[in-house]
């Protein structure tokens, strides 16, 4: 190994460590700020474990959604998909299908939603933001019709994935799957290739439309897993209409931005998971402070945008759209 090669390897190693360090410092600072402000009811070890478990829910969806975001597309139907999948999974579970109904219902619904998103995006050639916004309205209405206006409650004996160790095992399997897709399949390579330059990717024989479709489909399945964790953790789900599901888009999307920001350190999946943990620390910190929800949202939004802006460190002169 020549000197330049050795220095490059060291550089790569230090790059990932640097990424982890930045993330850990951010987590620590988030914890420290609220620990100082409200020392008695925030940030104990038990509290932190609880925040971490809560963060696993959005992380499970975000690691799949990352494929869509990297390709330069977007999805505004996340919240609607979660609600629809949770309600269908919950209904099937309550109908006597147990865990098979819960897992099958959520994952299949996620897959169908992803398929529809991808299909309409590819066929109609309309920006993904518009397509998924339109479809979100349909998914919301569908969920409302299926739920019949009532809250759907998951039977108490089917909440394995709402607590330790079930939730952690399912989440870890999900993260591992996302990591494997990105690093050990053609899909991961093509995802980055399409995100980098679609024209060149097409010229290299990559079926761009197919892989974009696949990204939505995979993302949908991950949102299905997120639905399992959501309904298991919260135990019930209420269908909403009029785009009220949009508020559920925020957390997984922000997690993806962490992934994008830390892609340069080679740890996007890890960054999503740690980033979501930090989002939860901030969220529960505000809860501990007793801040009104509106103030919480404003400050959380600002804080996260600042964090992502600071960590992304765009190349000077680079065009951002």
């Amino acid at each position: 190994m020549d000197a330049r090669t050795q220095s490059m390897s060291k550089k790569k190693m230090s790059s990932a460590i640097k990424g982890y360090l930045i993330l850990c410092v951010m987590v620590f600072l988030s914890w420290l700020v609220f620990k100082i402000l409200t020392p008695d009811n925030f940030g104990t070890l038990d509290n932190m474990l609880s925040y971490f478990q809560a963060s696993l829910i959005a992380s499970a969806g975000a690691v799949g959604f990352y494929l869509v975001i990297v390709m330069g597309m977007f999805d505004f139907s996340i919240g609607a998909a979660i609600i629809l999948a949770s309600i269908i999974g919950c209904k099937l579970a309550a109908m006597g299908y147990g865990y098979v109904g819960l897992l099958g219902g959520c994952l299949l619904t996620g897959a169908v939603v992803g398929t529809l998103n991808g299909f309409f995006y590819i066929k109609l050639r309309i920006p993904s933001m518009i397509i998924t916004t339109g479809l979100a309205l349909i998914y919301e209405s569908l969920a409302n019709m299926i739920a019949g206006g009532a809250a759907q409650t998951l039977p108490a004996n089917l909440r394995l994935f709402g607590q330790m160790p079930g939730n952690i095992i399912l989440a870890l399997l999900t993260f591992f799957a996302a990591y494997a897709i990105l690093n050990y399949t053609k899909i991961g390579t093509y995802t980055y290739a399409i995100g980098s330059n679609e024209f060149i990717a097409k010229n290299m024989g990559i079926n761009v439309d197919f892989y974009k479709f696949l990204a939505f489909l995979i993302s949908g399945v991950f949102f299905g897993i997120m639905s399992v964790l959501t309904i298991s953790y919260g135990s019930s789900m209420v269908a909403v209409t009029g785009m009220a599901s949009m508020s559920r888009n925020f957390v997984p999307t922000m997690g993806c931005f962490f992934g994008l920001a830390f892609k340069k350190y080679g740890i996007p999946i890890q960054a999503i998971v740690i980033g979501e943990f930090m989002i939860n620390i901030i969220f529960y910190g505000f809860v501990a402070l007793g801040a009104p929800t509106a103030i919480q949202d404003v400050i959380t939004g600002f804080a996260l945008l600042i964090i992502v802006a600071l960590t992304t460190k765009m190349v000077k002169g680079a065009i951002v759209k």
Binding site: M8, K186, A193, I206
Partner: protein
């Protein structure tokens, strides 16, 4: 007679009403470097893009080793034994070096849907070692490497599978001398292995030196195929342009005194990591050249003068004391800039010629209520497009449809229309054919005579020697010497200060 590798038979291609390639037929032999030359817009790249699957064929066929081939994309072309190295960057950010090398050919590393990344990296590292590019590591992100290294990776990508035909499309202009030597070495290797290279270049000296035979195209049609040893540069120019072209298209004046009047002063300008304490003056009616190796910082000088550098310190001052610190003040004070990266930094490709020419002059063309008249804009664009002899259907045509030379004419038309007095031209003739080059040199000379001042940044030493009153040579981000126009000035004198 040598054995035929590729037969091109009656090939045609149109884009709308534009016939880019018209009934072209010629053969490429085994074990030869076959140059393909012609003016911008002559159809060379369209032809090779059909061969490599980037464009579909309208009519005609390619016969490779007796079998008709019609690839639909580059991977299919690769599978047929055809590959291409393009002028601009052909690698993808966000992927590793190994992923770039094997992009589209991952199947060989995939078992049960799982990609064997370790094996892919191992094979890529072996290739890098074979090609003597050991400083590049297969597992690294490609973004870790500079333009030059990424071009070397493209060379591996295009040649590692021993293709029968490798198309090298105007690649050398993007490379430093070192990179060019590496490319020439690979061309020889391909030739010695009995395979063939289709070599597209505007540098006729390079074409004569490196190729065995040369096919000339003009206006989409086949003109002739000649042996390199049988022709001179002037013969090639005549065949390309269709008439006699004077060999000395550079300036012919020597000893003319340049005005003492300074129009622009650059004092102690630095840009972090790129430029260190650069100072010089530009005089009225002067063409001041900047030369050096591609990473010497010379391209940053242009950006620094135009206010487009980041973190610049020092002063750029006009004769009246106005300081230029950003692009707006540069344009408002009659400074123009054309970037080396024409497509990304100078033009808005998916807009019309009219939009591109009128863009910096919109304020000047606006009416009393800042309203813009379509007629006025069109007349303005037509006037300057015509003045620059842009080959086009009309000014509504998208710039993306134009050849490289005509794109450059649009960029220049924009600044001539703006009436700029100081022009910073970075690589103004990059990738441009001999006829358009001549037009640009003549334009620069006329501008100089009309007291316009020009900073010309170029990697082409002959054009610096031929066109400039003074040449500043850059090395490692600093000025390493200055040479004055004279008949005795030669390339070696410049090179000695560059390296």
């Amino acid at each position: 007679m040598s054995e035929v590798r590729l037969q091109i038979q009656h090939l045609s291609k149109s884009f709308g009403i534009t016939k880019a390639v018209r009934d072209v037929s010629f053969n490429v032999s085994k074990g030869e470097v076959h140059a393909l030359i012609g003016e911008n817009g002559s159809g060379k790249s369209t032809l090779t893009n059909m061969l490599t699957g980037i464009y579909t064929i309208d009519s005609g066929k390619f016969i490779l080793d007796g079998k008709e081939v019609h690839p639909k994309n580059q991977v299919e072309a690769n599978n047929e034994g055809i590959s291409i190295i393009v002028q601009e960057l052909g690698t993808l950010s966000g992927l590793t070096v190994a992923e770039n090398i094997f992009l589209g050919h991952e199947e060989r590393f995939v078992k049960y849907g799982i990609k064997n990344t370790r094996e892919m990296n191992r094979q890529a590292n072996e290739l890098l070692k074979q090609y003597d590019f050991s400083h590049i590591r297969a597992e690294e992100q490609i973004d870790e490497y500079n333009f030059e290294d990424r071009k070397l990776i493209e060379i591996i990508k295009a040649t590692y599978f021993n293709p029968k035909i490798v198309v090298i499309d105007e690649t050398t202009t993007a490379l430093s001398q070192e990179g060019r030597e590496e490319l020439y070495k690979q061309m020889n290797r391909i030739r010695e292995a009995g395979n063939s290279v289709i070599f597209i270049s505007h540098d006729l000296a390079e074409v004569l030196d490196k190729s065995d035979s040369i096919t000339i195209m003009r206006d989409g049609s086949y003109i002739d195929t000649v042996r390199s040893s049988d022709v001179t540069e002037d013969d090639l120019k005549r065949l390309m342009v269709g008439r006699e072209v004077s060999g000395d298209y550079y300036r012919t004046d020597y000893g003319e005194k340049v005005s003492d009047e300074v129009v622009l002063s650059v004092d102690d300008v630095s840009v972090p990591g790129l430029l260190h304490d650069i100072s010089f003056n530009l005089h009225k009616g002067e063409i001041l050249g900047f030369g050096g190796l591609s990473e010497s910082g010379m391209h940053e000088v242009g950006k620094a003068v135009f206010g487009a550098s980041y973190g610049r310190t020092g002063k750029v001052t006009l004769a009246d004391g106005t300081e230029i610190n950003n692009i707006s003040s540069a344009i408002n004070h009659s400074i123009a800039y054309t970037s080396k990266d024409r497509d990304n930094e100078s033009l808005i490709l998916n807009q019309s010629i009219e939009d591109n020419i009128t863009l910096p002059s919109l304020n000047d063309l606006a009416g009393p209520l800042k309203s813009l008249s379509d007629k006025k804009l069109r007349t303005f664009a037509e006037k300057y497009a015509k003045q620059m002899s842009v080959k086009m259907q009309d000014v509504d045509q998208f710039v993306s449809d134009l050849s490289g030379g005509n794109k450059q004419k649009v960029v220049l038309a924009r600044w001539i229309g703006k009436g700029s007095d100081i022009l910073v031209l970075d690589s103004p003739t990059r990738g441009i054919d001999i006829k358009v080059k001549q037009d640009i040199y003549q334009l620069m000379n006329r501008m100089r005579q009309n007291n316009k001042s020009i900073i010309m940044i170029s990697e082409e030493l002959m054009e610096l020697i031929g066109m400039c009153d003074r040449i500043i040579i850059m090395k490692d981000g600093a000025i390493n010497g200055e040479l004055t126009r004279s008949k005795e000035l030669n390339e070696n004198m410049l090179i000695s200060k560059m390296v």
